[in-house]
């Protein structure tokens, strides 16, 4: 267990591993570590806290990861200690506490831990651009064009009222855009998440104030890691 954590943290601080390799490796490590039933930990983003500047400030990362995400991790650990959820993988805690929609107390923290891990890994320094390969093919097939996907994803992120998330998912062998309130994520619907954007106000308020639309377009133009989305799609296809 300890050796898994060390390998992951060595990888995250390594400058030498290409993004796609890192993503593939971390996916399979995550899968492996889940099989081992690890404790819940605050994973660092796969880049330094100032690496997304000027598009997402170091300040934002310090609060968003360092306070909000850390808070969810610490509160979850406290909540599950000594209960049957203790020792379960994070994904299993989410599914168990979702309880078919009649959520149990641990759900909010567990889902938010997972959502934020997934969010950091959905971005990279020098992100943006266009997807390629099979991902682009499926985008063209299921949305008509890349521009059409961007439009639909933007609408979902803009119109998720209050707090929540917008997602690109793989479901029934098709790509879809969905949105969810508060902590809900597509795992509970049995979908395979491929990409997410956090639209809780804390995700963008320091950098963009009320201008959520500017945050969303910056995310898509400058931050999104299509490499990560491609890796996740590859993993999801194996499972469907």
């Amino acid at each position: 267990m300890a050796s898994v954590t060390t390998i992951v943290s060595q990888l995250t601080s390594s400058a030498f591993l290409p993004a796609t390799e890192f993503c593939r490796l971390s996916q399979s490590l995550l899968h492996w570590s889940q099989m081992q039933g690890p404790g819940i930990d605050l994973k660092p983003p796969p880049y330094a806290l100032d690496a997304l500047e000027p598009h997402m400030s170091k300040d934002t990362l310090e609060y968003h990861w360092g306070k909000h995400h850390r808070g969810y991790v610490n509160n979850l650990k406290k909540q599950i200690e000594g209960t049957e959820l203790d020792g379960m993988s994070l994904e299993n805690i989410i599914l168990a506490s979702y309880n078919k929609g009649d959520v149990l107390p641990a759900f909010n923290n567990a889902a938010q831990v997972w959502n934020h891990d997934f969010f950091w890994e959905s971005m990279k320094p020098g992100g943006g651009g266009k997807p390629s390969g099979e991902l682009l093919e499926l985008i063209n097939r299921d949305f008509g064009s890349f521009e059409s996907l961007i439009k639909e994803f933007t609408i979902a992120a803009t119109t998720q009222f209050g707090s929540g998330w917008a997602w690109l998912v793989y479901n029934d062998k098709k790509l879809e855009v969905v949105k969810s309130p508060n902590a809900i994520n597509p795992l509970v619907l049995g979908y395979h998440p491929l990409l997410t954007i956090d639209v809780w106000e804390h995700a963008y308020y320091l950098d963009f104030k009320n201008l959520r639309a500017d945050y969303i377009s910056t995310f898509l133009d400058k931050l999104v890691s299509w490499d990560a989305v491609s890796s996740r799609l590859e993993a999801a296809k194996v499972l469907e």
Partner: protein, 226 residues
């Protein structure tokens, strides 16, 4: 013939129609104090953004939704009318809630933070034991709101009882009970405090009581419970 000419311009037609139906649109109410007057409890920067950007956006979108609803009703387009309900609840609720919120606040030199005397003060002591206990309860419930929402002190006008309640997003208080009348509402959306208090919502809640306008709350209470 002349009517058709008017109605051909879509805007003119709609205006004519709205005149007949008397569709009222809404505009941003003024605050009774300067943006900076609630410092240090709430920063001037937050007050200005909150009023000029967030509240204004709710009003703009509410007016748009009402116009679209008006059109849909006129055309007998039931499915559009129903589809618009969430936009009306979000944005209309946002306008209703924030209009109350600005009246719930006052600079300390104008009585902000001064506890209520009279019937509301007595009712709080009767029902909660003390103002401190009421504040502790509202702070706990406000801190526990998942995501975005409000925490309210209300009076049930049927039962003549004080109630502490929370609502999600911009749901108005009446969604929790048709007889609930808001006395004090505290916005716990992150935009209400983030620039100043960051993730520490409890600090915001502790401090906002210094600028709560109990005079207004007392007036509303006295009207419902004379």
């Amino acid at each position: 013939m002349a009517l058709r000419a008017l109605a051909n311009g879509k805007t003119l037609g709609r205006l004519y129609h709205q005149q007949i139906r008397g569709l009222q649109t809404f505009s941003l109410p003024d605050l009774a104090y300067d943006y900076g007057a609630l410092e240090p409890a709430i920063s001037g920067e937050i007050m200005q953004l909150h009023h000029q950007k967030h509240h204004q956006t709710y009003i703009t979108n509410y007016n748009k939704a009402l116009e679209q609803l008006d059109d849909a009703i006129a055309k007998g387009d039931a499915s559009t009318a129903v589809k618009l309900q969430s936009a009306i609840k979000f944005n209309g609720g946002g306008h209703v809630n924030h209009s109350i919120f600005w009246k719930n606040l006052a600079p300390t030199r104008e009585g902000g933070g001064e506890p209520p005397h009279g019937s509301l003060g007595w009712a709080i002591d009767q029902h909660y034991g003390s103002m401190e206990k009421l504040i502790a309860k509202m702070n706990a419930e406000g801190a526990a709101v998942q995501g975005s929402g409000w925490v309210w002190l209300a009076v049930d006008k049927e039962l003549k009882r004080l109630v502490v309640e929370t609502t999600a997003n911009q749901d108005p208080l009446v969604t929790k009970g048709a007889s609930l009348v808001p006395l004090v509402g505290i916005d716990v959306w992150e935009h209400a405090y983030y620039l100043q208090y960051k993730n520490v919502r409890p600090d915001y809640l502790n401090n906002i009581w210094k600028v709560i306008n109990w005079k207004y709350a007392s007036e509303v209470y006295a009207k419902e419970c004379p």
